[in-house]
Symmetry: C2
Subunit: 218 residues, 2 copies
DNA sequence: TAGAAGTTAGTACCAGGTTCTAAAAGCCTT
DNA sequence: AAGGCTTTTAGAACCTGGTACTAACTTCTA
């Protein structure tokens, strides 16, 4: 989740001894050995990516050149580059959020008959403690698909009946299959059954009643 | 949604006439009158906030000074400032997303008894065509609340029974009230009823069965 | 035709760096 | 104690993408 993970490869093996007592007392502040300082550097930038090198010199009590050498070694880009990366990331997010008309990718759709969508469970969908997907995401996939499969101007969920058969975990790909159960274009409410699978295993089942705007069928 | 709306106040009244034909032909490219150019400038920065002034000179066929005067007049910050703003915004978002353990704001919670949450329907929750909230957001609020109200290490939705009583529109505030129906701490599945209101009107009703991790109760 | 509005040019300066060279300081080993 | 290594510091030149300011030139308009 944190900033560093985007581009920092860390390997801090052993820690090292203290430094010259003489110099330590001359300067009057404790300076860390290289490894520890670099670790601290990563932490500082991680907790505030907007920090400048000059600020870091004050926090770590070394010269600005040392800070810059450290950033080099650790592969940490300069402040402006960090901000640019963050800005680009958020820009992409905005774009993809706007495109999120539907939860999950619909990979097959036969209007008024059936549909299939795939949804991968990621970090943001699970309880952090258990790594189990929150129910409403599973529902959102099924509901989106049920609405999409109805061939009408307007389609709204009227009611639903859900069974979460087994917990779904981080990383699993959830495949939802929707089947329209009523004859198309006649009733102004459609019955849609959605079954979700991980592999062969059924993990969720839902029966939806969808209101449709029988515009086209009159 | 777009970038400009963060800091640009626009008022483009009338458009103006064309420019000197003499000069036009000398240069060989059409240059816009001030107002139109500034409008175009806003559009260009809006569609790509990462554009430099130098690039803008190429697109608008005026000198870099003119670009900068225009940005001043329009109150558009320089590229680096724009990126910084976006980065800060996304940084805050990451923090708030991580905090999004629950959909809707829980304003009252009596564990194992009842709870209330408020959720305002915004742009991103509605069908753009009809301005009606997608069902899964309403469900998400109810489900989050039902899970939150259960006083257990782990609580998972096992099944649910939903009725979307009437459509909920953009801007409406949806107030969900959850009641635990089974005696607390005994059964390892709790029954929770959630009723959602807009004002006095009931708009959604759901009956949830929640699995609980009877850790605490053994 | 004068003056205002609009446009362009140029210089000095800024933050927050990179790149490179070089020297000093600290540490370890023989 | 000296040599050789790593580490740290220093400094100068240069970079991008600007701001701030002065000055002049062009165009429109009254």
């Amino acid at each position: 989740m944190s900033f560093k993970r985007q581009f920092i490869i860390r390997r801090f093996a052993e820690t090292e001894g203290a430094i010259s007592v003489l110099h330590k007392e001359e300067i009057g502040i404790e300076r860390l050995p290289k490894r520890q300082r670099q670790q601290k550097l990563v932490e500082l930038i991680d907790e505030n990516p907007f920090v400048t090198d000059r600020e870091l010199t004050r926090r770590l009590k070394v010269s600005i050149q040392t800070i810059r050498l450290d950033r080099m070694e650790l592969g940490i880009p300069e402040l402006r580059e960090r901000m640019k990366l963050m800005a680009e990331r958020s820009y992409d997010q905005v774009r993809s959020l706007a495109a999120e008309e539907v939860i999950g990718d619909i990979i097959d759709l036969q209007l008024d008959r059936s549909g299939i969508s795939i949804f991968e469970i990621r970090e943001e969908h699970v309880f952090s403690r258990t790594q189990i997907a929150r129910g409403h995401h599973i529902f959102a996939q099924a509901n989106s698909l049920a609405v999409a499969v109805i061939n009408d101007e307007i389609a709204l969920t009227a009611s639903a009946d859900l069974r979460f058969v087994r917990p779904i975990h981080l990383g699993e790909k959830c495949i939802a299959k929707a089947y329209v159960r009523t004859s198309p274009g006649k009733a102004w409410r459609a019955k849609v059954e959605v079954l979700s699978y991980v592999g062969e295993e059924m993990v969720f089942q839902g029966n939806f009643i969808i209101y449709r705007s029988d515009d086209k069928n009159r």
